[in-house]
């Protein structure tokens, strides 16, 4: 049999991508493609799991039973989404626990939005509406990602997540239409979450050096700036409809481009938060580390019990 050179394999691989043929776990792929996916998918998984922390903090303080049941269901979904993504990452040969340890050591990142605190109940509405809204915008594009297991996980996650955004918007709508104090809470939540939500799409295209390769591999389908613009165009009318003001003095509909113009983002803040200096970075990673360390005995006991029972059955 003819031995294929790496360049031949790479050419064949790119041809498949260009023909929109999905890549599946045991197919040949360039090391860099595998590495890029492992990094992106595990960090996506970490984001789902860390994202549970600010919301879980409000479950016991939800204003009524309906909101509490909804928030519980949402947080449970996030756990499931983390799991789909960790499983999908494992199909690339990544060691799940090693990727989690990378989160705990600070080597791996997660979406920087979760380093902001949820200070009031209105923040829970804003998170659902804006943070999940931004995540969906990004994830809908990822449903067409070239790696099969990632794309399939995204399809399932997008289906589930549409209720996350709706419940947040509904909750914030109620506050915006409530007493002046409630409306103020809603406006304050929008003020604090607007810019961090826009930062979720990542650096501007000209500052995003890996984007071109990811686009060529069809891991990424739309650029950071395009996704961000789509999100702004979709979200601004939603804010106006419930009488909230988007905190950007330069926000203006541009007839010519058919898009909203907006103030350039303060990337200094973004990099500060990414590099560990956000309001809650330490708290979030500490909580995850504690969960693993203090829960380890449960994992070990379950494994010991399973082994003991197996022995009994075969004896």
């Amino acid at each position: 049999m003819k031995v294929l050179e790496t360049t031949d394999l790479e050419q064949k691989f790119q041809d498949k991508i260009d023909r929109e043929v999905k890549i599946e776990p045991n197919d040949w792929m360039p090391d860099a493609y595998r590495k890029t996916l492992i990094r992106q998918m595990s960090q996506h998984a970490h984001s789902e799991i860390v994202g549970m922390l600010p919301e879980a903090n409000w479950i016991t303080r939800a204003p009524n039973l309906r909101r509490k049941a909804v928030l519980l269901a949402k947080v449970q979904d996030e756990a499931g989404h983390g799991l789909y993504l960790y499983s999908a990452t494992e199909t690339l040969g990544a060691d799940r626990e090693a990727t989690i340890d990378d989160l705990h050591s600070g080597k791996a990142k997660y979406s920087s939005i979760f380093n902001y605190p949820a200070l009031s109940w209105a923040d829970i509405g804003a998170i659902g509406w804006l943070v999940d809204g931004a995540a969906i915008m990004n994830q809908v594009a990822l449903c067409r990602c070239s790696y099969g297991p990632y794309a399939r996980a995204m399809v399932k996650i997008c289906k589930e997540e549409s209720f996350h955004q709706r419940q947040g918007y509904e909750s914030l709508t109620k506050l915006a239409q409530g007493t002046p104090e409630q409306k103020e809470l809603a406006q304050d939540a929008l003020n604090r979450f607007w810019w961090p939500s826009l930062m979720m799409f990542g650096p501007n295209d000209d500052e995003s050096p890996n984007s071109a390769q990811s686009m060529k591999w069809k891991i990424k389908r739309l650029s950071n700036d395009d996704l961000r613009q789509n999100f702004i165009d979709a979200t601004v009318p939603q804010a106006e409809l419930i009488g909230l003001k988007v905190p950007d003095e330069n926000l203006k509909w541009n007839e010519e481009t058919g898009h909203y113009d907006f103030t350039p983002i303060n990337w200094d803040e973004f990099w500060q938060v990414v590099n560990g200096n956000g309001p809650c970075n330490k708290q979030r990673v500490d909580a995850r580390r504690k969960a693993k360390e203090e829960g380890m005995w449960v994992r070990e006991a379950a494994l010991a019990f399973a082994e003991k029972r197996k022995k009994k059955q075969t004896a």
Partner: protein, 95 residues
């Protein structure tokens, strides 16, 4: 940190009576009971299933995708296995 991991399980779900079980993903669990319970919680939160199979991933064997072209070639060359290969005279019904 200790990293002794639970085994990996593949999850198959029958969405309704009359349909076959379909692979939906995988998860880690200490034993089959836990794998089933976790599969229910993770993969059927919205009535996606009425029956679950879990199989330890170790027991799944697969052909090598690198040889897939040669491996499946015999089936591609036998077009006479398909009804469209045959000529049917005009006017012939029920065939």
């Amino acid at each position: 940190m200790s990293t002794k991991e639970w085994p990996l399980w593949e999850v198959f779900i029958r969405s309704k009576q009359g349909l076959n079980h379909k692979h939906v993903g995988s998860l880690r669990a200490a034993d089959s009971t836990m794998a089933l319970d976790n599969a229910r919680d993770v993969y059927t939160r919205r009535s996606e299933g009425i029956s679950i199979w879990v199989v330890e991933s170790n027991y799944v064997h697969a052909n090598d995708p690198a040889d897939a072209d040669a491996y499946f070639e015999p089936s591609d060359t036998k077009i006479f296995r398909h009804p469209t290969f045959y000529e049917v005279h005009e006017g012939i019904k029920h065939m």
